[in-house]
């Protein structure tokens, strides 16, 4: 059976079920059975058991893949997802299309994400001059500046260091940054998908530096990429001597080109932009570098007119991932149990708890963490909710072991204003209508400046 035939037969099934009430199983099976009756003539042989309208035709008839040879093992030597999963992809939007999608971003479908690992093909992709394709044979890493012994490593030499494997998220600090002035995306993928999480393999940078004679006056490093934009950022030595890694492995295989193949620097918990890809050069210095992406961008402008220049860790954050605007509640009736699921993460430490609200963040109950709970890593949480058939406004609020808790949008914007672009971690809300439809909205007050210029809540605002 060709793709086209499968598609045709499938269209028939879908067409026949469009107006079907999902909760009415009997009607569903009757209609589906009718269309499968038509199918049987073309390729599916009914099995020998008697069938009535109540029986599921996909049980009562042999399925097409159950009767024919499948693919030989020689096909797809590097495996690919099922064709039916083709809608689970990174996506982009023209709003973020700078440089003809070269200085741009494609974001992760976290509404389809499972567990705490993002598959390599779905890991969000951000570059400042396009995705570079580095020849690993020509790859060199140079470490120089305030060291006694400036070093050059080939890729093979780099991989000789004893490897370390850690699971960390990487988040673009502009995750949610389009929504400082109000919600814009009716989509989880775009509202929160500027991040992904993977298991990384590499070496601690401090372990390479041990042999190089770091001079005491070294306070900062420059990490610089070899792509056409030479993307570079300044990183304080404190992070280098703590947990900064030079990584070449991602979820058990080489980094993908979109993640800096063959080598990137990983600063657990810190801005994705700081985790420089296609890494070519590390320079130790006593002064910061004022690279383009730490001056023109990646700086958070406050109401005072001053901007936070070096803003490292992505602060504690969370989101409800199920339901989402993309995948609403379906097939539920009053009294059904529904698992509300989400992600929590903090670049400052480990998630210690998540609370969930059903009234937009006014009142909370404790949700449950589940699975591995690791530092600077996605953490899954859930709450089993008894569906009441009325409108709810879901909000989640995470805490970390550094002592931080997610602020309300008002708490955050009263300090940072609404022009910061980066590092927005205010509590986010989904409105779930009685029919299960999910709409992204926010709970916030209108702000203004008072006579002294201070940002305050506008109590008269309608």
């Amino acid at each position: 059976m060709s793709n086209k035939e499968i598609k045709n037969s499938q269209t028939e099934v879908e067409a026949s079920t469009v107006e079907t009430e999902l909760s009415d199983r009997r009607a569903f099976f009757k209609k589906a059975a009718l269309s499968v009756g038509a199918l049987a003539g073309t390729s599916l042989l009914a099995n020998e058991h008697a069938a009535s309208g109540e029986d599921d035709p996909f049980i009562m008839h042999h399925v097409k893949w159950g009767q024919k040879w499948g693919d030989p093992v020689t096909k797809n030597r590097y495996g690919v997802p099922s064709k039916y999963e083709h809608n689970v992809t990174r996506r982009n939007t023209k709003l973020l299309a700078s440089g003809n999608f070269r200085a741009s971003i494609a974001v992760t479908p976290i509404h389809e994400s499972m567990g705490i690992i993002t598959p390599n093909g779905l890991f969000f992709s951000r570059s400042h001059g396009g995705v570079a394709h580095v020849d690993p044979n020509e790859y060199r890493l140079m470490i120089h500046g305030l060291v006694e012994k400036p070093l050059v490593l080939t890729l093979d030499q780099l991989k000789k260091y004893p490897s370390v494997t850690r699971t960390h998220f990487i988040e673009c600090p502009a995750n949610g940054g389009q929504e400082w002035r109000g919600p814009q995306f009716n989509s989880l993928q775009f509202a929160k998908g500027f991040m992904s999480c993977a298991e990384w393999t590499g070496v601690y940078l401090k372990d390479i530096l041990k042999d190089l004679g770091v001079k005491p006056e070294a306070k900062w490093i420059l990490a610089e990429g070899s792509d056409n934009s030479e993307m570079g950022r300044t990183i304080p030595m404190d992070k280098v001597m703590d947990d900064a890694m030079i990584v070449w492995g991602q979820n058990g295989e080489a980094l993908r080109p979109e993640q800096g193949y063959p080598v990137r620097i990983l600063l657990p918990g810190w801005e994705g932009n700081l985790c420089v890809k296609w890494l070519k050069r590390i320079k130790l210095s006593n002064e910061p570098f004022f690279a383009k992406e730490e001056t023109s961008k990646y700086t958070a402008l406050k109401p005072s007119g001053k901007a936070i220049q070096h803003f490292y860790a992505n602060e504690v954050n969370s989101t409800v991932t199920s339901p989402s605007p993309e995948i609403p509640l379906k097939d539920v009736k009053v009294g059904d149990l529904v698992e509300i699921e989400g992600l929590a993460w903090s670049g400052m430490g480990t998630i210690t708890g998540v609370d969930i609200s059903f009234d937009g963040g006014n009142n909370y109950v404790k949700a449950n963490l589940k699975g591995l709970v690791l530092p600077k890593c996605w953490t899954r949480w859930s709450y089993t909710y008894k569906y009441e058939g009325k409108k709810i406004i879901l909000a989640s609020r995470a805490m970390d072991d550094a002592g931080y808790i997610q602020p309300t949008i008002d708490q955050e914007t009263l300090i940072t204003g609404i022009e910061a672009v980066y590092h927005r971690n205010g509590i986010e809300t989904w409105e779930v209508a009685p029919d299960g439809t999910v709409t992204h909205m926010q709970m916030r007050s209108t702000l203004k400046r008072d006579d002294t210029g201070k940002v305050v809540i506008d109590k008269e605002a309608k």
């Binding site: 030499q157 919600p183 220049q309 022009e419």
Partner: protein
Amino acid sequence: MFKVNKLIISASIAASAALFMTACNSEASASGASHSGATTSAAAYANGKAVIDGGVTYPVVNGTTSDYAVDTQAESETFDYGRTATANEIAAWDTDVTHIKLPPEGSGSVEEGEEIYEEKCVMCHGDFGSGGGGYPSLSKGNGYELQKTLTNQRFDPDADGPSRFFGSYWPQASTMWWYIHDGMPHPDSKTLSVDETYALTAYMLNINEIEVDGQEVDDDYVLDQEKFAKIVMPNVDGFEPEIRGKDGIENVRAYFQVPANFGGQKVKPADRCMKDCLEPTAKATYISGTGISDFLPPMSTVRDLPQETEAAVVGQKEYEASCAVCHGSSGMGAPVLGNKAEWDKVAAKGAEKVLANAINGLNGMPPRGGTDFSDAKMKDVVNYMLNFKK
């Protein structure tokens, strides 16, 4: 012997970790927070200094850090792989230009800069750096005046926002010189000479109306290393904390110890708000209009078979890689792919002439569109663009 030392070190780290453990950590288990594993975190490093980002660190205690086992044998060794970099190699790659590291000697004038800009930059950054087609604007006028807009906040949706351009926002001119020289022009970077980079930087100063050492950067201005050293950008002190100088790192450390500096909220878990947490003024705010929904590919969660894609057309790949930059959207002055009226006008010149223009360059378009395509490939891609139908 070494192992013993290691244990002692670990123990002392653990002790300091305990000392600096934040109050909320001990509260966490008392209040019944969801997770209270064996994870040992500390708000300070082994040297006693607070963690630089305001968060915590995870010292290795008894061979583990958080839930990870650590190969302490590997940790205790020193590995000397690779080789020493030569002086020439370092010189070749040590190209950063900063507030303490001037560009190499050279010079260039505003006039020369404008010429280069018109040839190599205008197709993306627009006339006089006005931007367009999703590329950054380089100027919106006088840097000193626009710097005053940085306090703008669009609490009123119709108000003007802050102007964050080179002249009004960037603290250092060194950033511009460095980025032009290493990262521009985008599809063909690292091709501008030192003098050309001075010239373009001079032009950037000119269109942003920046004064250097009290002197207006007018059309006749020639920028060189000595003058470059005297540039003070209008917003040089517009950032916090101060990262320059010997206290830079400590300023950052102190800054992130104060949550109010960056919008953080600290709370003991037991004291967190569980009831009536919203401001009474907070109200439901919805996406205005349809919001942003031009997602590519369009949003769908259906499990069906993908549509079979048509075979790629000759020239399409080259177009997408090298020509779409300017021909993909309006605002660049180049005919936009699929705009029939614009392309009819081009086609009227005759195929030979169009190809010759593409090969030799025309208006803002550099020869061969800045590519190294052969004549045959140029013909393919020109035909693709001429014949493209939406």
